[in-house]
């Protein structure tokens, strides 16, 4: 959608904290992820509809407004949920390690991988194989022409923004058992997400997947091998990609 959104880290964190609160009422992680995602999606929809809509094409304005909201969200989370890290329990039936060919894998992480592949596939099918996806792509590529042929671009964009925000929120809840919810989670997630997008290429789902794989691998090995320089190592693949392919691995257009 070509909107500079810096609230995503904060939305991820908001999702994680909402997950904490929902889990107190409904002790089921998947329900919490769904509800947390919906709540964050609703918030994202309001943000898009009432603020970002007016700033279409004004990148700097979008950046400052989303950054402002990121601060407000982070600060309010601190007020509501306090400064201590809150762990989110792993669901009971996924606590046993999974044994495959003599190797033990933590079952929850396997479930997260499966789920993310499912979500990625669903998004791909939505964007590339359905009428709705074609309409969204048309709106991004040429908004005026899309409007002229009767596509409700504004409504679609609100929907897409909701979807993006909702996925960030649900991601926060699902990431909870691995990372727990703590202040500063947003600032930890944002550079990761940005590097993933820069690496993979803006506007490409395959790019986002490839980007997260590379970033995940490099980051995990980097933390294990050179813990103090993990951030520098994280950033090396990005330099290489930018040097040879400025639009990212799978990017359609330069960001």
């Amino acid at each position: 959608m070509r909107i500079a959104n810096l609230t995503h880290g904060a939305l991820f964190m908001l999702g994680a904290y909402l997950g904490v609160s929902i889990l107190k009422v409904v002790p089921n992680l998947w329900v919490a992820a769904l509800l947390g995602g919906l709540a964050v999606a609703a918030f994202g929809g309001l943000l898009e509809r009432f603020i970002l809509r007016k700033l279409a094409g004004n990148i700097l304005g979008q950046v400052l407004v989303t950054l402002g909201f990121a601060y407000i969200i982070a600060d309010l989370c601190l007020v509501i949920w306090g400064g201590d890290p809150i762990p989110i329990p792993t669901p009971q039936f996924l606590q046993q390690p999974l044994r495959v060919a003599g190797f033990a894998f933590p079952a929850y992480r396997v479930a997260v991988v499966v789920l993310s592949v499912l979500v990625g596939t669903a998004l791909y099918l939505l964007m590339e194989r359905t009428r709705l996806g074609a309409m969204i792509r048309a709106g991004v590529d040429d908004m005026q022409m899309a409007r002229a042929v009767g596509i409700p671009v504004s409504r679609l964009f609100t929907l897409v923004f909701c979807l993006g925000a909702g996925l960030a929120g649900a991601g926060g809840v699902i990431g909870g058992p691995i990372m727990s919810a703590y202040p500063g989670l947003d600032a930890d997630m944002l550079p990761l997400a940005l590097i993933v997008v820069i690496l993979g290429g803006v506007g490409s789902l395959a790019g986002a997947f490839a980007g997260s794989f590379i970033t995940g691998f490099v980051y995990t090995f980097g933390v294990a091998l050179f813990p103090q320089l993990a951030y520098v190592i994280l950033f090396l693949p990005m330099i290489f990609v930018m040097a040879f392919r400025p639009r990212g691995l799978f990017g359609k257009f330069a960001a």
Binding site: V63, L67, L190, L194, M242
Partner: protein, 303 residues
């Protein structure tokens, strides 16, 4: 005439102002250099950066580390810090200027977040969250008034040099690349090179503000490298009016006053900062200086 009056006011200020206000003014000066260096990129080059705290922080850390770990005096540490930071700006410019617009912004942000994370995690070198303490000021400028004059002189010199840069033919070419990059390219200007030189120049002045920053506080913490710091600088430029010479200075004063005064009464400084961001973008997108100028012109034309 106006400038001379302003100079008299600024020189005379420590004689009447209390120590708190003199220190606050010094902080505004330092922040004004920082904001003005962002303005070179944003206002004149049309390049929105969210990573300018890198230069402030790296210069501050370099000079602090050279002093603490190698025992270098300020005469050596300060030029070394400026040189190292400027070289870093050369390198970062090569990477970040692969893109413009949103891509440029994301790259500068990612680069600065990397430095911020490194400063936090590399405890052996930077002492992580504790920050580096026990630093000294050059020339034994330990009382508020003498540091004020030092900062005032440095700020005046920096702003003058930046104004010269913008007013030069090169500055005109830079504004050309902001408004009509394709036409400038067709006219034979090397658009990328113009942007890169500006990027490095802005990085240098960011480093200067970093040196003053670490001299003032005699302490440096990873938060100086954080996104918040870059964003506050950007906010100061936009609040004051980007692409004007006085804008960043006015904006720096506004942000610093808000930060120092209001945070004494309101605990939730980050929420307030966020609200200020939103309000300025929604209601005063052009900034305070052009806004006031426009009101003044309207007022003057009526009478």
């Amino acid at each position: 005439m106006k400038l001379a009056a302003l100079a008299c006011l600024l020189v005379g200020f420590p004689l009447v102002g209390g120590e708190f206000y003199v220190n606050l003014a010094s902080q505004i000066f330092i922040f004004a250099i920082f904001a003005a260096s962002i303005n070179l990129l944003l206002g004149y080059g049309g390049l929105a950066t969210l990573g300018h705290a890198s230069y402030l922080g790296v210069a501050a850390y370099t000079s602090a580390l050279l002093g603490l770990k190698l025992g270098l005096g300020h005469w050596l540490a300060a030029p070394a810090a400026l040189l190292a930071t400027t070289l870093m700006a050369c390198l970062f410019g090569l990477i970040a200027l692969r893109a413009t617009g949103l891509g440029f912004l994301m790259l500068t942000l990612a680069l600065s977040q990397v430095l911020w994370g490194t400063a936090y995690r590399w405890v052996a070198l930077t002492d992580g969250d504790n920050g580096l303490r026990g630093l000294s000021r050059p020339f034994h400028l330990d009382d508020a008034a003498s540091f004020y004059y030092f900062a005032l002189a440095a700020t005046a010199a920096s702003l003058w040099l930046m104004a010269r840069f913008v007013g030069s033919p090169f500055g005109a070419a830079l504004r050309g690349t902001r408004d009509q990059p394709r036409r400038m390219s067709a006219l034979g200007h090397h658009v990328w090179l113009i942007r890169w030189i500006t990027f490095v120049y802005a990085g240098f002045w960011g480093a200067v503000s970093g040196l003053l920053f670490v001299y003032y506080h005699k302490y440096i913490h990873p938060i100086s490298l954080s996104l918040t710091n870059s964003a506050e600088g950007l906010l100061a430029v936009i609040a004051g009016g980007s692409g004007t010479l006085a804008g960043p200075v006015v904006g720096a004063a506004i942000v610093m006053l808000l930060k120092n005064y209001v945070s004494a009464y309101i605990e939730r400084w980050n929420t307030l900062l966020g609200l200020v961001f939103v309000l300025i973008v929604v209601f005063m997108p052009e900034g305070v200086v052009p806004g006031v100028k426009r009101l003044w012109l309207r007022f003057a034309s009526r009478t």
